[in-house]
Amino acid sequence: MLTKKDVKKVAQLARLELTEEEVSVLTPQLSNILGFIGQLKEVDTTGVEPTAQVTGLSDVWRADEYENWDKAEIAAALKQAPAGLEGNQIKVKKVLEQD
């Protein structure tokens, strides 16, 4: 059902680097699971609304006011940024290429 090529493409979309061995193992496993899931096609769902969530809630509002996050918690959170900080900002690799 799925080819190794499909699996590699999906892995790229999911930002997962897989080894050749992982691709070989995953391909039949994913195909199997998708095959199993295929039985859902049997079910007649004409006129049936999808269930995205079960609470029945919608438009849960709060006042448009901000709360300051505790400074010590902010520091603890930022401290864990792997590439380090510049001031209070987390360093990230270049996102846009320059021509």
Binding site: L30, I37, T45, P50, R62, Q80, A83
Partner: protein, 483 residues
């Protein structure tokens, strides 16, 4: 009886009488952890100093006149629940050294109640699994037989309660992850109604079914813990403004006339003889207690597993996108941004996490979303409507929790799909957002079995009443493993 062997109810009585202290309790549990956790491997982190500190605070509060609730009661939290200042790993290499910067709401509530956190328990990585074998730090072993799985994904929590390492534990239940280990370890596992308790500070797995749940030694204790963690939370928009009543007040009300539904589809050929026999005994017991048994039907329940295994990976693929080596967690150096993502995630995630991310990414990708994800959500509607309809005819639904007792570690290594099929009884309550509880109901060759009761939304009271009466009239829950 050793102090760590007490139930919450018994411990609170002794604490209120002044016969024991919270520090005594904490030490008893910590000693027990030292005694048996090398064999069981339930815990990833033990926070001894913090625990004694919190226990001392609880004793001081009691000295000032505070009583009852969970004041001074030692517990363990599943390691996908954020605990401020304490390592929280989700049993993943990608968060191996992550220190949570804040407390989950449920942890905050337990702190306020004066409960004492002893440590963090092992789980399937990011809660992906039903056996705790997918932990990046090794599996937890079933206290009843260490060659077997404790169930999952809250296996560490289940094993810890069964081994008397704590008086209760927190887990999370998305598709059975509290109920399964409860059944396999012989303890009580409660999955509350979706939205009854806040998900803020839980590492998200399947946002539309995740709930924080409780592992306890008795049904009575489950009510006490739910009392503390239930309630609307402004930080979790999926918690309705539903009143939290007193779950313990009418717990010992008799269940004469309680209508219990048995879905015919669940008692068919596939059921193992030991499970069938235990469920038969349970049915007879409930009749003895005055309940009425009614046969009901859930024709679409057979689609629960495939529905779940599309919806879950899809939501997982979205929720795990935040682990990218940038803000926190494992970060592998790369030439450019894309390489940092590919390598950090490739190396940080385990096999099952990757499998689910891949499945979800595929199911949601252009051209496939309608066939897979949307169809699954529509079948979900049918399953939910069916269960809701049955619960207007009966008060609760009775099923086995698991099709079998605990199995050998490594059984499903080659075939992950077979493990998914173990979830057949527990998934419908998750898809419909209903409360469900697993209660010890027998043994199969010395291994615990659990029965499951499913209730209507926010009707945890009926589950507690039925469970309480059952436990007053059976002694399965009093049996302990010899480790």
């Amino acid at each position: 009886m050793k102090l760590n062997e007490l139930t919450i109810k018994q411990a609170v009585e002794k604490l209120d009488e002044g016969v024991i202290t919270a520090v005594d309790l904490a030490h008893a549990c910590l000693d027990r952890i030292k005694e048996v956790d090398e064999k069981v491997k339930a815990l990833l982190t033990v926070c001894k100093n913090e625990a004694i500190d919190e226990a001392e605070k609880a004793d001081k509060r009691r000295a000032k006149g505070e009583k009852g609730g969970l004041l001074g009661i030692p517990y363990i939290a599943k390691d996908n629940i954020l605990t401020k200042g304490i390592r929280t790993t989700a049993a993943s290499k990608i968060l191996e050294n992550y220190i949570a910067p804040f407390d989950a709401t449920v942890i905050k509530k337990l702190k306020k109640a004066g409960a004492v956190l002893l440590g963090k328990s092992n789980l399937d990585e990011f809660a992906h699994g039903g056996s705790t074998e997918n932990s990046a730090f090794g599996p937890t072993h079933n206290p009843w037989n260490q060659e077997l799985v404790p169930g999952g994904s809250s296996g560490g929590s289940g094993a810890a309660v069964a081994s008397d390492m704590c008086l209760f534990a927190l887990g999370t239940d998305t598709g059975g992850s509290v109920r399964c280990p409860a059944a396999f370890c012989g303890v009580v596992g409660l999955k509350p109604t979706y939205g009854r308790s806040s998900r803020f500070g839980l590492m998200a797995m399947t946002s539309s079914t995740d709930v924080p749940g409780t592992l306890t030694k008795t049904v009575e204790d489950a009510a006490l813990v739910l009392q503390a963690i239930a309630g609307h939370d402004k930080y979790d928009a999926s918690t309705p403004d539903e009143i939290v009543g007193d779950y313990s007040q009418k717990i010992n009300q008799d269940i004469k006339g309680l209508k219990i539904g048995l879905p015919v589809e669940y008692y068919g050929e596939g059921l193992s003889p030991a499970v069938r026999s235990a469920m038969n005994e349970a049915r007879k017991k409930f009749i003895e207690l005055g309940a009425e048994i009614k046969e009901v039907s859930l024709p679409h329940a057979k689609y629960a597993v495939p529905v779940y295994y599309i919806i879950t990976p899809s939501e997982v693929s979205s929720n795990l996108a935040r682990f990218d080596g940038i803000k926190y967690g494992l970060s592998v150096k790369g030439e450019d941004l894309l390489e940092v993502y590919l390598k950090s995630r490739g190396q940080g995630f385990g096999r099952e996490a990757k499998r689910r991310i891949m499945l979800g990414t595929y199911a949601l990708s252009a051209g496939y979303r309608d066939a897979y994800y949307l169809q699954a959500q529509k079948v979900r509607t049918k399953i939910k409507e069916e269960v809701d309809a049955v619960l207007t005819e009966v008060d609760v639904i009775l099923t086995p929790t698991q099709p079998t007792a605990a199995y050998k570690i490594g059984s499903y290594d080659a075939d992950p799909l077979q493990m998914y099929l173990e979830d057949i009884f527990v998934i419908p309550a998750s898809l419909a957002g209903l409360p469900a509880i697993s209660i010890p109901c027998g043994f199969a060759k010395g291994l615990p079995l659990g029965l499951q009761l499913i209730g209507a939304r926010f009707d945890e009271n009926k589950l507690f009443q039925a469970g309480y009466q059952y436990q007053q009239n059976t002694d399965w829950h009093l049996k302990k493993p010899i480790i």
